[in-house]
């Protein structure tokens, strides 16, 4: 996928575990795992809002564009 998820790096910088983040933003660990692995089809603005609020970061810190056009088989 052309959009990469760098959530693990941000979690490490903030010294927070994924379990703690899940309880803060109220999503399941399974869903967070889907997001971290890049398998998610999309992210809701409300989820991004909460992640950025609790990790005190910007959207661009979590999601980065690698310059490629994404594979349509991902759709």
């Amino acid at each position: 996928m052309a959009i990469k998820v760098h959530l693990d790096e941000v979690l490490k910088k903030r010294h927070m575990t994924s379990k703690e983040l899940c309880s803060l933003i109220n999503i399941t660990e399974a869903n967070l795992s889907i997001l971290r692995s890049g398998k998610a089809r999309g992210v809701r603005f409300s989820t991004l809002n909460k992640i950025c609020y609790y990790l005190k970061c910007d959207v661009g810190d979590i999601l980065k564009f690698d310059g490629e056009l994404g594979d349509e088989s991902d759709e």
Partner: protein, 330 residues
């Protein structure tokens, strides 16, 4: 097989057996007495109350009490609905039902009045009493069924999907029960009556009737085929309703919809092929037959139902896909 489908299939099998035994137990030419069926249980209630009333003072008082209680039941239900603030426009039929019950039961208790009320101009009015009882019973049933249908139509709106699916399953099961009765009692009786008619009409001239009997049997099967297929569709539809209730986006619902559309499609093909084949066979063997019945069937209802099921299957498939995609949005 889903639990409710298994239960329905078992009950229908028992019903089919009972109907078959009952149908075969009747004398050969006897046709189902529809008039007698329509007057049940009013005729029996009337006879019972009459006997009770004529048995003495106590019996008479008891009969009057039972008569008053039976007639007031629909009105009491209306009062209950009003108290619970659940009354609807269709409940206006309940007082009518009470008045009708009093009237019909009174005539059933005094069957001589049926003759005076309904057949005062008839040549043999007394012989018409059973038909009069059937007419009265039919009238009560028509009001009752109208009330139940109107109530069901009002209840469909505003119900939760699960409650609606439960209602659908019940209605489909009831429809299947009626169709099984139609096949294994009315259908078998009709077939037995046809055999009896052919036998009576051709007994004296030593005719060979075996080919006619065989074709009557094949004709019976061909005629019942649309009803059998409709029964299968209703049974499978209960399974679909159960699958949708459990998980409307699940694989089971999709498979059930596909199975239903497949049955509908195969049913339409089987019906037209069987009708065509039977007509051709009758024409080919007409020389040896003492009775033949040609028919043309356009199973429009079955075709429309099949199209609806195919469409439903597609919608369920699309909904499942969208649901799965939606689940992948975090």
């Amino acid at each position: 097989m889903m639990k409710s489908k298994r239960v329905i299939c078992s009950l229908l099998s028992v019903e089919a057996l009972i109907c078959l035994v009952a149908a075969l137990a009747l004398p050969g030419g006897a046709k189902p007495d529809t008039a007698a069926l329509l007057s049940v249980p009013f005729s029996q209630a009337g006879s019972l109350l009459r006997s009770l009333s004529l048995s003495g003072h106590t019996g008479n008082a008891l009969a009057l009490s039972v008569y008053l209680i039976l007639g007031i039941l629909p009105l009491s239900y209306l009062i209950l609905l009003i108290k619970r603030k659940k009354a609807g426009a269709e409940d206006i039929l309940l007082p009518l039902l009470s008045v009708l019950l009093y009237f019909v039961l009174y005539l059933m208790i005094n069957p001589g009045l049926i003759r005076d009320w309904l057949y005062h101009d008839a040549v043999d009015a007394t012989a018409m009493i059973p038909f009069g009882k059937a007419a009265l019973g039919d009238t009560v049933y028509s009001v009752l069924i109208s009330y139940l249908v109107l109530k069901a139509m009002r209840n469909i709106e505003g119900r939760s999907p699960d409650r609606f699916l439960d209602m659908a399953r019940i209605l489909l099961a009831v429809a299947a029960v009626v169709l099984v009765f139609s096949i294994f009692f009315a259908g078998v009786r009709g077939f037995a009556a046809a055999i009896h008619d052919v036998k009576s009409a051709n007994d004296s001239d030593g005719a060979v009737l075996t080919p006619t009997y065989i074709f009557l049997f094949i004709g019976f099967l061909v005629n019942q085929l649309p009803t059998v297929i409709a029964t299968l569709l209703f049974i499978q539809a209960t399974g679909l309703a159960e699958a949708i209730k459990a998980d409307r986006y699940g694989e089971a619902a999709l498979l059930a919809a596909e199975r239903l559309s497949r049955t509908g499609r195969n049913g339409v093909i089987a019906t037209v092929a069987a009708t065509m084949g039977f007509n051709l066979l009758q024409l080919l063997f007409s020389r040896w037959l003492h009775a033949a019945h040609y028919s043309t069937r356009l199973p429009l209802g079955a075709i429309i139902l099949t199209l609806v099921m195919v469409l439903l299957g597609r919608y369920i498939s699309d909904s499942s896909r969208l649901h799965r995609e939606n689940q992948m949005f975090i």
